[in-house]
């Protein structure tokens, strides 16, 4: 039995399904792009002219994080719930298929789709006048941080997809968690404007912490609101991201593929 066969078959199927579903395209690509457009032209009224390109840059980074959040937390569980609801998981259980190969295929599809969404959001940001002040090392580090966002979101997404059985329930739970957590953790609102309790949450919640790290690397401390690139903060973010990912992977492999 070919390992690559099962992984690449799942990858191909999942990416095609992501690209052909209007709700997926809307929440992961259109919605963040709409906010880049709105934010770039509406939220820069009181910003000094020389700061506008970097403000647009930080808005673009936030929307890129949001795109990755919805991809992992809404699209992935939606896809899992749909496959379960229409009996595909039962069919796969009757075949010589290993759950972890299916999981890897789904996650690779998510990474590919998330990358596409991130690139499109950045391109729209550039078109709107977003600029970044960064080095090549900063860009590479940011890509690493984006991977952490994807893993944390995928972990949460697999948990949602495992425990929420219905497709719309899974999607709306994912969208809801994305929107709410993005709003209260400094992804959609400036970190500095958050009350202390939420600032603490923003440092623990890996997606907002990563968002701040990327903003710090590409736009500067002023836009991040604090210095997130300390050893303790980066270690905490990495550990929580990996734990969420592992929890999602274990829950999916055990409970979605469990025999009744």
């Amino acid at each position: 039995m070919s390992l690559l066969g099962q992984v690449s078959a799942t990858l191909n199927k999942t990416i095609k399904e992501f690209l052909r579903q209007k709700t997926v395209l809307f929440w992961t690509i259109a919605w963040p792009i709409i906010w880049v457009l709105i934010g770039s032209f509406s939220f820069t009224g009181n910003v000094p002219d020389e700061m506008i390109p970097y403000t647009r840059g930080s808005i673009t980074i936030s929307m890129m994080s949001f795109a990755l959040m919805t991809a992992g937390m809404a699209n992935l569980p939606g896809n899992i719930a749909e496959d379960r609801e229409r009996g595909l998981l039962s069919k796969l259980m009757s075949m010589p298929v290993r759950p972890w190969r299916d999981s890897i295929g789904r996650i690779l599809a998510l990474l590919a789709f998330s990358s596409l969404a991130a690139v499109l959001v950045i391109l729209v940001g550039f078109v709107c006048g977003a600029r970044f002040s960064c080095t090549m090392t900063g860009v590479l580090e940011s890509i690493g941080f984006l991977l952490l966002t994807s893993f944390a979101s995928a972990g949460l997404g697999m948990l949602i997809g495992t425990f929420i059985k219905h497709v719309h329930g899974a999607i709306m739970t994912g969208v809801g968690i994305s929107v709410v957590t993005a709003s209260i953790s400094g992804v959609m609102a400036p970190y500095a404007s958050l009350p202390e309790l939420l600032q603490n949450f923003a440092r623990i919640y890996p997606i907002s912490s990563v968002n701040s790290s990327i903003t710090y690397l590409l736009a500067g401390e002023k836009y991040a609101g604090y210095i997130p690139l300390t050893t303790s903060q980066t270690t905490l973010t990495t550990i929580i991201s990996i734990l969420l990912f592992a929890a999602g992977l274990i829950a999916y492999s055990r409970f979605c593929w469990r025999k009744e």
Binding site: G5, Q6, E17, E85, M93, E260
Partner: protein, 306 residues
């Protein structure tokens, strides 16, 4: 050679015993239909064979192996439409070929053969959401026809299909069945079950009768059945008809009732008059041969479709 051997199989969900010490043997190459109403345990039994569910106690052997070790032989088609509606027919089959470990070139060759076998070559590149119910079911059956499948387990495959699509679909199953392919058809439709070489009737988790379809009818003792289509269906109508039926048993069907009696010639006009008297018009009345639904009703006093 036994393809499937089930011994003392029991399945419980809490206190609810869905299967009760079921014994069943299906030989290699046999076409076996398991017929019973909703909730009789037939889907549970099929899904345990396909290693989708586990048994509480008892044993299943597929060619002498546990179901989990025999998954490469089994082509299981669950009741639901599991194909992806936003992928094309070809893309769906390529996905399953990949899951079975075929290389791209091998998969393309086999998928083309399967599409031609199930008559979907021309529609292969259309999205499944544009397929009719029958086309989608044929596509799903193709996922179980990859080389190496020895046992086809079809769970209610004709549910939701119109009579014409159902006939076409079952014709296809007979055509694609290789000599050594064993088929287990789960159904609640008698005419579907009659295509099998052997039928098992299942009720409340127990197989209550098992034989060739014609022998099941013969041994049931049923001779004549009057099939009546009426303008209304009510308890009053059923009571009126029960006076004419053996043991006062009347089977309710989609369009009317079935009455069991010995002297059809004498009883038929009386039935029409009796129904007229209570204001129920008879739109059709005919004498027919007993069906497997009638046999099931005789044994359990329950409609298999209800």
């Amino acid at each position: 050679m036994d393809a499937i051997n089930v011994e003392n199989l029991t399945k419980r969900y809490g206190n609810n015993e869905v299967l009760k010490e079921v014994d069943l043997t299906i030989e290699e190459g046999e076409f076996y239909a398991l017929m019973g109403p909703n909730g009789s345990g037939k889907t549970t039994l099929a899904s345990i064979m396909a290693s989708v569910r586990s048994a509480t106690s008892g044993e299943i052997r597929i060619y002498g192996r546990k179901p989990e070790s025999a998954r490469e032989f089994i082509g299981y088609i669950p009741q639901e439409n599991f194909s992806s509606p936003i992928l094309t027919g070809r893309e769906n089959l390529m996905y399953f070929a990949g899951m079975l470990g075929y290389s791209k070139s091998e998969a393309e060759r086999i998928v083309n053969e399967l599409l031609s076998k199930i008559g979907l070559s021309e529609d292969a590149d259309k999205r499944v959401s544009h397929y009719s119910g029958g086309m989608r079911k044929r596509l799903e059956v193709a996922t179980a026809l990859f080389p190496g499948t020895k046992i086809l387990i079809l769970d209610e495959p004709t549910t939701g299909l119109d009579p014409s699509a159902r006939r076409k679909f079952l014709g296809l199953i007979r055509e694609v069945k290789g000599e050594k392919t064993t088929i287990l058809l789960i159904t609640h439709i008698g005419t579907d079950a009659e295509l099998a070489s052997r039928v098992g009737l299942i009720d409340k988790g127990e197989i209550i009768a098992e034989d060739e379809p014609e022998r099941l009818k013969e041994t049931s003792g049923l001779k004549n059945v009057i099939n009546i289509e009426t303008t209304i269906k009510s308890e009053k109508v059923a009571n009126a008809l029960s006076d004419f039926s053996e043991e006062q048993k009347v089977l309710e069907t989609d369009l009317g009732y079935r009455v069991y009696c010995k002297d059809v010639g004498k009883v038929t006009p009386k039935i029409v008059r009796s129904l007229d008297a209570i204001g129920c018009k008879t739109t059709k009345i005919e004498t027919v041969k007993p069906s497997l639904e009638d046999v099931f009703f005789k044994l359990t006093e329950k409609a298999v479709g209800g």
